[in-house]
């Protein structure tokens, strides 16, 4: 089935979203409460057992999904909101037919400025922010988001340049459409598919980054569970109770896999269809 990536990806991502949403209303047990003996085996009451403090793992996974989704969404939104306008601006400056030299320089300069951000991996930013205001979900989101801006800026610029070579952009100008109007009405709708794909991919990366950061204690502080920290805590008891690390690890893996598949599926769905039917 050609659309398999789309469906599988969609299902996986949908599950994560659903879990996160449901967790707001109901979890089997309070995720922070100690409800059973430590490291209990999976049973009917606790399908995945309990963790090293006696908290129900299923409940913790569910609540952990929240952090995953929230960090993913906010970080990507931040990255897109910052990166796309920069990229489109740079692309339009550079890609205009017969662009003046200053415009080309400006476009290039803008991209080099954005490139500076590349020098700051999310980790570094997170450490800086944590040192300044204390680690929290927010610092994690901001750090990851800012670190992802260059990715979006680049993709947006590349896609914008492609669009700018099309005659309809010139036609818009000949019709009297302003540059801003062109950006909104002509460039954005045509780069949207590419950006959508990038968003899926970045979402996956953001989740991994969050897991890493909370593993290092630079994100959501305890006792609120996040998958990353659950991994960390699982590491302590790795030899005695390996499944502690297994569940959150699988959760992360499936979420990222789902997002990547969704991204692939979206790309196949959106781009060629426009070209094929032409």
């Amino acid at each position: 089935m050609r659309r398999a990536p789309l469906w599988v990806g969609g299902v996986l991502v949908g599950l994560v979203l659903l879990t996160a949403l449901v967790s707001f209303v109901w979890t089997p047990y309070d995720a922070a409460a100690i409800v059973a003996p430590k490291l209990a085996d999976p049973s009917l009451a606790h399908p995945l057992g309990t963790d090293h403090l006696g908290r129900d793992i299923v409940s913790r996974l569910m609540v952990g999904a929240r952090a995953t989704v929230v960090v993913g969404v906010v970080a990507v939104a931040l990255a897109a909101g910052g990166g796309v306008p920069l990229g489109v601006l740079a692309g339009m400056l550079d890609g205009r037919f017969g662009a003046a030299r200053w415009a080309t320089w400006a476009g290039e300069g803008l991209m080099r400025g954005v490139d500076v951000l590349y020098a700051f991996p999310a980790l570094l930013l997170a450490i800086l922010l944590a040192a300044a205001v204390g680690a929290s979900t927010t610092t994690a989101m901001v750090a990851i988001g800012v670190a992802t801006i260059p990715a979006f800026a680049r993709i947006a610029r590349a896609a914008t340049l492609t669009v700018m070579t099309q005659d309809f952009v010139l036609a818009a100008r000949a019709s009297g459409t302003s540059q801003a109007g062109t950006a909104v009405r002509h460039v954005l709708p045509n780069i949207a598919p590419v950006l959508g794909v990038q968003a899926s991919v970045s979402f996956g990366i953001a989740i991994l980054a969050e897991a890493g950061l909370s593993y290092l204690g630079l994100a959501t502080p305890p006792p609120t569970p996040t998958w990353g920290r659950m991994l960390r805590e699982g590491q302590n008891v790795l030899f005695g109770a390996p499944e502690q690390a297994l569940w959150p690890g699988l959760a992360i893996g499936f979420a990222v896999l789902g997002l990547n598949l969704l991204g692939d599926g979206l790309r196949d769905l959106l781009d060629p269809r426009l070209r094929e039917v032409a």
Binding site: P272, R273, E276, V277, A278
Partner: protein, 340 residues
């Protein structure tokens, strides 16, 4: 009567899982040294025919029927066997000189590659042969050209190199897919003269695909007219022009003879002669709401899109399958390329 060089019988080509058929069982034959033109609009199947003969269609293409070169059946041959024939007994010249050459290899190496694939020659001899060939196709400084990269050459020079590659092994059949469409008109004239000369020298037959009747009439002695995946007429150039049988051919001929129409007068269109009926895709014909303009409105929805199977979403639809061949997707040349 000499043995025909190429015999095509009942050739059918379908794409994709939905088996959308683009060629509906065409048949024709070519004698040695014969020059046959193939005329048709985009979507008529002419490029697909060429690629089918060469065995260059995409993987999701289903080919049935018979194609025999020198009596040897080509349909169903394994790619390795076909590859041995390509470049040697049959070769192809594509439309876009810019993309037909590898930008990362010097031209000399590329021409030599074709030579060495089919002949075992020591490098020095191969180089010699390459330079000879480049000179033969009219390049003024073969040594410089051989050591140049494609981007350093003009469109006309590149197309000459492509011709050199196609002819260096003295094939028996050369298939040209709109070889001059992307070239300037003065360059085109020279390349056509060159082609004529080289075909004679190589004693090769030529299957010349074009949308331009005038060019075909100069190069070829026979013409096949294709429409919607079928051959609707097959005759000598003189017959096609003087006594076209099929209505569509009549329309094409009328359209081509711009020189016979008074400037300012209405040009004859294909629809004047041949009614295509309801198009297979796109605009539903709601008849002409014309304000007196002669174009017959939505009936022309079939204009460029007519021959193609209804909006096939399969990957193998002609424009992608034949992409490299007919250059429909690569309209970057200095001249026009035909939009499918």
């Amino acid at each position: 009567m000499t043995e025909p060089l190429l015999v095509v019988e009942g050739l059918r080509v379908a794409f994709g899982r939905s088996r959308t058929e683009v060629l509906h069982g065409i048949s024709f034959s070519m004698g040695p040294r014969e020059r046959v033109g193939v005329i048709g609009e985009s979507g008529s199947g002419k490029s697909v025919t060429a690629l089918a003969i060469m065995g260059l269609l995409a993987e999701n293409a289903t080919v049935s029927g018979s194609v025999r070169l020198h009596g040897r059946e080509l349909v169903g041959l394994r790619d390795r066997e076909l590859a041995a024939l390509r470049g040697d007994q049959m070769s192809m010249v594509f439309q876009e000189p810019m993309t037909a050459l590898d930008p990362t290899m010097t031209v000399g190496r590329q021409v030599a590659e074709v030579l060495l694939l089919h002949q075992d020659l020591p490098r020095a001899a191969a180089r010699q042969r390459v330079l000879e060939m480049l000179g033969e196709v009219g390049l003024a400084d073969p040594v410089r050209v051989a050591d140049s990269y494609p981007h350093a050459l003009s469109g006309g020079q590149r197309q000459r190199c492509v011709l050199a590659m196609a002819l260096i092994n003295r094939p028996d059949l050369v298939i040209c897919d709109e070889p001059t469409t992307a070239l300037d008109v003065t360059v085109q004239a020279r390349v056509l003269t060159l082609l004529d000369r080289e075909l004679d020298a190589a004693e090769a037959a030529c299957l010349f695909i074009s949308h331009d009747l005038a060019i075909v009439s100069q190069v070829c002695s026979r013409v096949l007219v294709m429409l919607d995946g079928e051959i609707v007429e097959d005759g000598s150039v003189a017959d096609i022009f003087n006594a076209p049988q099929h209505a569509y051919t009549r329309g094409l001929v009328a359209t081509a003879r711009l020189d016979q129409v008074e400037p300012g007068q209405r040009l004859p269109t294909v629809e004047d002669f041949y009614d295509r009926g309801s198009p297979s895709t796109g605009s539903p014909s709601t008849g002409s709401s014309s304000t007196g303009s002669p174009s017959t409105g939505s009936g022309t929805g079939a204009g460029g899109l007519g021959g193609r199977p209804t909006g096939s979403s399969s990957r193998g639809s002609p424009s992608t399958g034949a992409g490299t061949g007919s250059g429909t997707g690569t309209g970057l040349g200095s001249g026009p390329t035909v939009v499918s």
